[in-house]
Assembly symmetry: C2
Homo-oligomer: 363 residues x 2
């Protein structure tokens, strides 16, 4: 099958996303996006043994440097960022140097932020190697590192020159990671694409077995949905908030179980179910539509309930601390119907408690 | 006298620069530019005793926090940046928080960069308290910290919401600092405003005695010149390079004498003279125009020669290492005539050596 190319339209900062199998092998894919003569590949110890040589071969003849990061969210911090700067400086990288992120979301977030800041901005290319990164980080230009007191607190909006989402890289992805990515794919259907959600109900099992055609279709459709939202709202002032469907509950679950114990996508899956249930209580989503959401999450082999050990008061406390809280009120993304989301703080005052009880979360 | 307001036109990122005496005392000046309820003032130990209370009074009723930096370029680094992030997080500053820089160029550069990165960008206001910062940092959106291996290597282009250049703050400025600021003022006349240069020839002594009317005029005219250049070239790809008149020689002098021994503006003054002399050798600037530049620098009580101890080979080595060198060739900003600058690497091969000899710099 051939690759798809999606163009993210952002005026002077527009860029292509190439999606499909076998892209890293292709000589015509990566090289045309590199302007200067120097490349700093940022990757990690897990991804490098699998794909670094292939990428280096595609860049033969250029002055290639590598920054190898340890694997894990806990290294997404200022110290790691400084390591990248140190390596860029030590290699005398000039302002035409391309920073190339080869890895999942953590590698992309930190490499993108380094590219945004080095000499006030150098070209940046993403090669996301997880489904989550392919459907989430490919579009939106969000880059960041964590602060000890909060996730993604230090960062920049910075667009890549190109994204190469090679579905072959998903063959080495752990099942849990794949499913966590599917949670975000489902999200795009829920917030703005009922037709895509119906497609997922029929084909999600093809994603689970890593069918390249199904993956290419789903990644393209997800990126398209996100690109439309982002184009309308590049700096996250309005519509972009819809992308946070399930994230207020989800972040609270992640925090309550301790970061790293649940994957982000797993927490978002449960968070989306909670948001859907609350949408029902708010008089919007029908019972049968809620059931469709539940069944799809279940069919995707994602969790449908928070872990039994977390407490309701604890969860609510984390929800209050969420970045999306403005003036102390919990604003939530709810569903008007399948394929139509909205942001509100206008829901029955007891609805959050009732939702938590339904999901067997007690104080 | 009344204040002037200059509008920097950058589409959605346009902002005003208020210029004149007594602005910090005025209740209607600062407050209208602050949207949220939280303010983080970033200042330093030298400036704070002079102006912090006045600024705080203008912000009464808001939730005010202060980050106090030690004074000096050597603190313009990642560690200081992290201190600001720590303080923002510790004070639970949200994404509506305004970061307010109260101080000279170093405070502005680092506070602006912190504002650019905190939660991927929060509002930022500058109160520059040196002439150099008022005429240079007020326009252009350049923010940065230094890397141990290079100045301003880590940063962002980030525009303030407003700049308040109170000429009263120049009354406490050391004479040397004032004159260093005048060097940059002269630069604007030289690169694009012959009428302003002629005004400076008549009135530079009024600047030296800190006449508010003359200062207000000169700051406004300088910011206007810079704003026109920047508007045409926000991300420094073309015309903006003209702002570097005298800076390739100047940076090399700064590096050769050791950073901190000469002020940036002092080195730029000599650098501009060298560039003007070389322009003559390149067959452009007339001898009498060169003499005008020399006389103006002299009249401004700025140095006209590098310190005797620096060597030519050393200076050339630093010039080669300059960020503006592309593909190993030294590109220079030269003068076609007074008020018209251009960028070139097309000048007689012996011209740099000849210029150095003229300024009594020998290997």
């Amino acid at each position: 099958m051939t690759a798809l190319t999606l163009h993210v339209e952002l005026g002077a900062r527009s860029y292509p996303i190439h999606i499909g199998p076998g892209l890293l092998q292709r000589k015509d894919m990566l090289r045309p996006h590199i302007a200067g003569r120097q490349v700093m590949i940022v990757t990690n110890e897990t991804v490098a043994p699998l794909y670094l040589e292939t990428v280096k071969e595609a860049l033969i003849g250029l002055d290639i440097h590598v920054t190898m990061l340890p694997d894990g969210e806990r290294y997404k911090n200022m110290a790691t960022l400084e390591t990248i700067f140190d390596n860029l400086m030590a290699a005398s990288c000039d302002r035409e140097t391309t920073v190339l992120a080869l890895g999942g979301g953590v590698v992309g977030d930190i490499a993108g932020f380094a590219a945004a800041c080095y000499q006030r901005g150098v070209p940046y290319i993403q090669i996301p190697t997880t489904l989550l990164a392919q459907v989430d980080s490919s579009v939106g230009g969000k880059t960041a590192v964590n602060h000890p007191r909060g996730k993604n607190m230090i960062g920049a909006f910075y667009q890549p020159r190109a994204v190469i989402a090679d579905t072959d890289t998903l063959s080495t992805l752990a099942d849990r990671e794949l499913r966590a990515g599917i949670a975000e794919v489902i999200k795009y259907g829920l917030i703005r694409d009922p037709e895509f959600l119906a497609w997922l109900e029929r084909h999600v099992t093809r994603l689970l077995v890593r069918d390249h055609e199904a993956l290419t279709f789903a990644i393209n459709r997800s990126c398209q949905a996100k690109a439309e939202v982002v184009a309308a709202d590049e700096h996250e002032r309005g519509e972009r908030a819809l992308l946070n469907l399930g994230h207020t509950f989800g972040h609270a679950i992640e925090a309550a179980v301790g970061y790293g114990n649940w994957l982000h996508g797993e927490a978002v899956a449960v968070g989306m179910l909670m948001a859907a249930f609350l949408s029902q209580l708010a008089g919007h989503l029908t019972k049968s539509d809620y059931q469709r959401v539940f069944d799809l999450v279940k069919q995707s082999e994602l969790p449908t309930h928070p872990p039994p050990e977390i407490r309701g008061d604890q969860l609510k406390q984390y929800m209050q601390a969420d970045k999306k809280v403005v003036a102390g009120k919990i604003r939530l993304v709810l569903l008007e119907s399948i394929g139509q989301a909205y942001v509100t703080d206008d829901y029955p005052p007891t609805a959050v408690d009732e939702t938590l009880r339904h999901f067997k979360v007690f104080d």
